[in-house]
């Protein structure tokens, strides 16, 4: 049986009153393949950032794109879309 990830309190109408509670659900643990971004090849076009379905790619203070491994599920869309092949998928070692 599937279990809920968030322990829902049985509130009237199943309302979750705590905002942003989904951040507690770190989906990075689901990853089988790990994207690795080579900053030396990256042209900072933002394509990976745009395509990431999880919003797990962020831009840091220097304008570099970085992957948030807490939430990246390893789908590989970023690697597939990168026009300069700066992202490679590696087998996740845990």
């Amino acid at each position: 049986m599937a279990k809920s990830d968030n322990k829902l309190k049985f509130s009237t109408g199943a309302v979750i009153k705590e905002p942003g509670s989904t951040l507690k659900n770190k989906t990075g643990g689901w990853r089988a393949m790990r994207p690795v971004l080579d900053q030396s090849k990256c042209v900072k076009c933002g394509t990976c950032w745009m395509y990431c379905p999880e919003g797990a790619i962020k831009k840091d203070d220097k304008g570099n794109f970085v992957i948030d491994y807490d939430y990246c599920k390893g789908c590989g869309i970023c690697a597939n879309e990168c026009p300069v092949k700066a992202i490679r998928m590696e087998l996740e070692k845990k």
Partner: protein
């Protein structure tokens, strides 16, 4: 306000106006249209401060009803027949989200064949979707009930949506006398709407999350508990209304007529009850000990009250204005199930489908058939 002669649809709109809904999503369908037409006029004339949303379908009307209620305001809509059917996808979402929206259903047959006239197939088919359903007999009862519904539905022990069910044309298009309450009276009876929870960017919350198999049943159980709470709430609100406005309808759930010493009785919902009153009086003059039970609340279903009300009866004829094709009248199924442990003989008549007039002759025949030990059937 003094008594006026008013079309039932307009009277309902006047009742709704007194409850001050802020959003009224609507899509026109006969015979409901006069209700929202009247509301549109009131908004246009500045008599009612509300937003009317002209949506592109009943599916959207119900969705907007849900959305507006979730944003924290009192809402109203109205529909009929296939219009309600098109709302079906959203009906259990409104109730599952525990949004106390109120909607009028001017009951009309479901097609096909196309038919614009009254029967109960639309709302009775939707009875399992977690909406309170109160069925009314007269213009006065319609006005009073729409005001009561807001109070019942919004109570924090209930928090469920409600349908005001009235017979299309047979009641919706009738002009008759009715007292429309004063605004101050209604303000006193029905406090300003305070949502138990609302969507607000300043205080973000999540509505409508997924519930996994390990929690879904608990939420359904909570809805069932709310429905059971509504049984008491409907009675309470009926009594409070009587105190403030001087009118009540039985105990809120059922109403008994000439039942004190009755041996045989009719049970039904809506306008047929009015005609049945006259039939009961006529048969009483002829020496028959007959009575009448008006079912006002189909959901929640007043099982305990029905058991009490029928204790001394010998026979009961249930008149259904709908048939669960492949079985029997659904009201009959409910009533018989509630009275399973009694020895009462219960028979079923299917009547008044697609606007077929339910006449005094029909109801007389039903009562006499019951008394003579005959079976039920179709009152054609």
């Amino acid at each position: 306000m003094p008594e006026i002669v008013v079309e039932a649809s307009r009277a309902i709109a006047l009742g709704v106006k007194l409850c001050k809904p802020k959003v009224i999503p609507m899509y026109p369908i006969t015979p409901q249209t006069h209700i929202v037409e009247a509301l549109a006029e009131m908004i246009n004339n500045g008599e009612l401060e509300a937003e009317m949303i002209h949506v592109e379908s009943e599916h959207s009307a119900c969705s907007a009803l849900l959305g507006a209620q979730a944003a924290g305001v009192r809402t109203f809509s109205a529909t009929s027949s296939q219009g309600l059917a098109l709302m079906y996808e959203i009906l259990p979402i409104v109730s599952g989200n525990r949004m106390p929206s109120v909607m009028a259903i001017a009951n009309r047959a479901l097609s096909a064949p196309i038919n614009i006239w009254n029967d109960h197939s639309d709302a009775v088919s939707a009875r399992d979707q977690g909406w309170i359903q109160l069925w009314v007999e007269s213009t006065q009862e319609a006005v009073d009930t729409v005001i009561q519904l807001y109070k019942i539905c919004e109570d924090h022990s209930v928090l469920l949506p409600g349908m005001l069910c009235l017979d299309g044309f047979t009641l919706s298009h009738v002009y008759e006398r009715a007292v429309v309450p004063e605004q101050e009276q209604v303000d006193e009876f029905l406090p300003e709407y305070k949502p138990y929870v609302k969507l607000d960017p300043e205080e973000p919350i999540t509505m409508g999350p997924i519930a996994f198999p390990d929690s879904f049943m608990e939420f359904k159980k909570m809805q069932q508990e709310a429905m059971l709470n509504a049984v008491e709430k409907i009675k309470e609100v009926n009594e409070e209304y009587a105190e403030q406005f001087g009118r009540s309808y039985g105990n809120g759930l059922i109403e008994l007529y000439q039942m004190e010493d009755a041996e045989h009785a009719l049970l039904g919902m809506g306008t047929l009850v009015g005609t049945a009153r006259v039939v009961v009086d006529e048969l009483r003059k002829e020496g028959h000990k007959v009575g009448l039970i008006k079912l006002r609340s189909l959901r929640p279903f007043p099982k305990e009250d029905l058991i009490k009300a029928t204790e001394n009866l010998q026979g009961l004829a249930v008149i259904d204005r709908h048939i669960s094709l492949g079985y029997e009248g659904p009201l009959f199924s409910d009533v018989r199930s509630a009275l399973f442990e009694s020895d009462l003989r219960i028979i079923n008549f299917i009547a008044g489908l697609g606007g077929r007039d339910i006449t005094q002759k029909h109801l007389r025949k039903a009562l006499l058939s019951l008394k003579e030990g005959k079976e039920g059937g179709w009152l054609l």
